[in-house]
């Protein structure tokens, strides 16, 4: 039938309406306009359900199941943590691609590129903040996702392999975050990664493997050295280390996540999200047999749920980054100067805590390796068929025990429990840290009145100025410290240059042996540094 005959047969109006509806159906991957309107209004679907068509027609929707069991769609059943971590990963890819435009991974350029991004690229800081905050959030969300799965026993048959791919995704998330740490090439980055990679250096050489090392690198105790060399590209972190971490961060690890994500999600859809334990017989898996009256269709019901949830998450993330959160940029990396209180990233604090318990090889490597191995193999080791809490007392008890152990170990990994520097140095670090702000820098520049302030003769004005408040704290801090017997401190403020003041900390005290000791440290503060604006970058 020709076009003309077609128009003559139906009239122009009917022809156009038909064509429009066909086009609409093509765009929506199979839903005609009339059904689409009903879908938006929330009408019950006609039979056969046209809303299932997109799940077979379109690529993105074919990944999603067309309906869920009513019981698994309650927010508190999964907290949508899997969706959230996927979404955060997408945000990471988008912001990461944008950040890559202004970044070159060489020690000469990396830091100045960061400065350029922050000083010369509109929205540059916001992009960096979102990238950083979403990354930290992703670590938390992925861990919580795993913990939820453990608590509901969802790793049990037939979902063992789903759990296993999940552990790979958790590890990839941690290392993605960790490899991104180094890229700004500031002091925080450099030393956190130096510490992290030197943990790998503790890898022991298996007995009998010595001769291989003799052959390869002329050293029988070779595995640790080789792992370290592989990661850093040279004995210390430098240009090759930065390039390796960059490639891990933007290429290898994201690829790994994408591959394992699809395996993981395929399994989730294939087996369905496990039902609440009380709705199932012990040892059964009925998640995939959803009675018709308990189905909730993805289109549009669940889809709207997800859109609402992700819109709110995005809004919170953007508002946090715009007004409350700033990804810090410390001073440029200096391989010759370790800042006080250097730490690994917070999600490796538990490892640092373990290292403080004892031997580097046993506690730093062997125990974590056993721990990770046990977590990976949990579904294959747990023979209890029941997913109900009252049958799983031991498993749940162990889960909470491990969670609290990790929290306690993380506290032990805090700089608070780090190797202490001499007490006077600690005091000065508290009031004027080498990196970051601290109370003295927060005092407005104009209120740092030049003069010599001594703790033994200090009489503040009434009312105390902001600086005098800080000084009073300094005085009390020194008098409290048992390591600073007879301690007298002074802060000398004097002009050093136009717009530049020298802040000299001096503490004279008697050490534990009663010998006189002195600690002096100079800082400089420029008028434009605006630390008191809480303007950190």
């Amino acid at each position: 039938m020709s076009l003309i005959q077609d128009i003559q047969g139906r009239g122009l109006r009917g022809f156009v309406a038909d064509k429009a509806d066909q086009t609409f159906t093509r765009v929506t991957a199979g839903i005609p306009w009339r059904d689409f309107r009903g879908m938006l209004r929330g009408d019950d679907p006609p039979r056969p359900n046209p809303r299932l068509k997109p799940h077979s027609e379109s690529f993105w929707l074919h990944i999603k199941p067309s309906y869920y069991h009513e019981s698994v769609t309650r927010f508190t059943h999964t907290f949508r943590l899997g969706l959230l971590s996927t979404y955060l990963f997408v945000i990471e890819i988008i912001t990461g691609l944008l950040l890559m435009i202004w970044y070159a991974p060489t020690p000469e350029r990396a830091y100045s590129d960061m400065v350029r991004l922050l000083s010369n690229v509109p929205m540059g800081q916001l992009m960096r903040d979102v990238h950083r905050l979403a990354a930290e959030a992703m670590v938390i969300v992925v861990v919580l996702h795993m913990f939820r799965t453990y608590l509901t026993g969802s790793y049990k048959k037939p979902r063992q392999f789903t759990w296993l791919t999940g552990v790979v995704l958790l590890a990839a998330t941690l290392f993605l975050s960790f490899s991104g740490y180094l890229l700004p090439w500031d002091q925080l980055a450099f030393w956190a990664v130096t510490i992290g990679t030197s943990m790998a250096e503790a890898s022991p050489t298996p007995p009998g493997a010595g001769p291989i090392g003799e052959l390869l690198i002329g050293q029988s105790d070779w595995v640790g050295t080789a792992v370290n060399l592989l990661l850093r590209g040279s004995p210390d972190i430098g240009a090759s280390g930065l390039l390796r971490f960059y490639l891990l961060h933007v290429f290898f690890l994201p690829l790994l996540v994408i591959v394992f994500f699809f395996v993981h999600y395929y399994k989730v859809v294939h087996f369905g999200i496990s039902l609440p334990a009380k709705e199932e017989e012990v040892g059964q898996d009925s998640a995939n047999r959803v009675p018709a009256d308990r189905r909730r269709y993805y289109l549009m019901d669940i889809a709207i749920d997800e859109i609402v949830f992700l819109s709110v998450v995005t809004f919170i993330l953007m508002a946090m980054c715009a007004f409350f959160y700033d990804a810090k940029l410390e001073n440029i990396a200096n391989p010759l100067k370790t800042p006080l209180h250097t730490t690994a990233p917070w999600y490796f604090f538990w490892l640092q805590g373990l290292l403080k318990v004892g031997d580097k090889v046993l506690w730093g490597l062997f125990i974590p390796a056993v721990f990770v191995g046990l977590i990976t193999l949990v579904p294959y080791l747990d023979y209890n068929p029941s997913r109900r809490g009252k049958d799983r007392r031991v498993a749940l008890g162990l889960g909470f025990l491990v969670a609290s152990a990790i929290i306690v170990l993380s506290f032990m990994g805090l700089p608070l429990y780090a190797v202490e520097s001499p007490p006077a140095e600690e005091v000065v670090q508290e009031f004027m840290p080498e990196e970051g702000v601290g109370p003295v820098r927060e005092v407005p520049w104009a209120e740092l009145v030049p003069g010599i302030y001594r703790t033994d003769t200090f009489e503040g004005s009434v009312p105390l100025s902001e600086f005098e408040h800080v000084f009073l704290e300094f005085k009390e801090r020194i008098e409290r410290d048992p390591g600073l017997q007879g301690g007298v401190g002074s802060i000398t403020v004097e002009p050093a240059q136009p717009g530049l003041k020298r802040i000299r900390f001096q503490i004279d005290y008697f050490d534990f042996e009663g010998a006189p000791a002195q600690f002096i440290k100079d800082f400089y503060l420029h008028e434009n540094s605006l630390y008191w604006h809480d303007f950190q970058f």
Partner: protein
């Protein structure tokens, strides 16, 4: 219906997000400008730390110039009306701007002088960003060139506890450079070469490079010689190779290198290069010398000569006046009183002042130099 409240929440969230981005975006140019100023300020702060560690010993704590040229000077920092560059750059036919001039001089040094190359690209210890920061610090004097600022403070004693190490001595007359001597070695070590900015020797210096106590006894003279002219040949355990400048081979004569090794061979307590034996022999030189010593030793930083009270009592009208002491007692300010106050500042503390004066002049000044300073104070009565 799906529940209109869900849709309202989603709409609000999306609208809210757009508002957040717009509000944030509106402030972007101001934020970027603030960041620029802020970063420049922190460059000056970083530069100041390096300047007082490595540069102030030759260029002066106020950049007034000692062995090296003055840096806090209008002819370096300020362009004349209608000129594109400051006079000193024009005089040297420097085609670039002030920053490139300063960074070039710092990075590559001034061959043939004691100004070694400080930039890593020329074998020195500092990275390009550190050189940049020092240049920012020097250029910051340009707001008010030539003005005297606080300078480098001396270590003081608080609460009756004595300072552990002696203040860094300021540079006096350099010893002859063509005669081998431990005094010349010390002069080079602590002075123009600034070895002590990285090495500790005899409890003095910064702990960046290896500690040099007993290094000659342990390793022998040949090792030390080799390590000075080719620092990366032997890298000490725990120290990164490449940090020490490789320029000493070209900048130092054999006599100078041997002198440094002689100095490193001496046990603790070598006389300062300021008091070689020959100078002790000469008698007092008079008030003019006293005036110079008062400048060089930083006396005038605390004691004014115009009657104003800075930190210590003014020297104006001091001679012959009656001094009331903290805790009772008094004395007439004569030569004996002044001598005692220089050697032991705490013993006759004048009422109304704290004991902030270093008690180290007995070690750093000769008897004749103290007499010169006293005679200078006498001229101010």
């Amino acid at each position: 219906m799906y529940g209109i409240s869900r849709l309202i929440i989603a709409t609000l969230a999306i609208v809210g997000m757009i508002v957040v981005v717009l509000v944030y975006g509106a402030a972007e140019s101001a934020r970027m400008a603030r960041f620029d100023a802020n970063f420049a300020g922190r460059q000056v702060e970083a530069g100041a730390l390096i300047f007082y560690e490595a540069c102030a010993s030759c260029h002066g704590a106020n950049g007034e110039g000692l062995v090296g040229p003055a840096l806090n000077a209008a002819d370096l920092l300020i362009s004349a009306e209608g000129e594109t560059r400051p006079p000193r750059l024009l005089q040297k036919n420097w085609a670039g701007d002030l920053r490139s001039y300063l960074e070039g001089a710092i990075t590559y040094g001034r061959p043939g002088t004691v100004m070694v190359a400080w930039g890593q690209s020329a074998g020195g210890p500092y990275r390009p960003d550190q050189v940049h920061a020092v240049a920012s610090f020097i250029m910051n004097w340009g707001v008010d060139p030539g003005k005297k600022w606080g300078g480098a403070p001396e270590r003081t004693a608080l609460g009756g506890v004595t300072p552990v190490d002696v203040p860094v001595a300021s540079l006096g007359e350099p010893p002859a450079r063509d005669v081998r001597s431990a005094a010349l070695g010390r002069y080079l070590f602590e002075g123009p070469l600034g070895c002590d900015t990285c090495h500790v020797f005899n409890g003095h210096g910064a702990n960046v490079g290896p500690n040099l106590d007993d290094v000659v006894a342990r390793m022998g003279r040949d090792y030390v010689y080799q390590s000075i002219i080719n620092p990366n040949f032997f890298a000490s355990a725990g120290h990164a190779p490449g940090a020490m400048p490789e320029t000493f081979e070209f900048n130092l004569t054999d006599i100078e290198i041997e002198s440094i090794i002689d100095y490193l061979e001496t046990p603790a307590g070598v006389p300062s290069f300021e008091t070689p034996a020959a100078e002790v022999e000469t008698g007092p030189l008079g008030p003019e010398n006293g005036q110079q010593l008062a400048q060089a030793n930083g006396c005038v930083a605390c004691h004014s000569i115009d009657g104003s009270v800075v930190i210590g009592p003014s020297w104006k009208g001091l001679w012959g006046s009656e001094r009331q002491f903290e805790g009772g007692g008094s004395a007439i300010a004569d030569a004996d009183y002044l001598r005692n106050s220089i050697l032991d500042p705490a013993s006759q503390l004048v009422a109304g002042f704290q004991n902030l004066m270093p008690a180290t002049y007995a070690n750093t000044l000769t008897t004749a130099q103290i007499e010169d300073i006293i005679s200078y104070i006498e001229t101010l009565k």
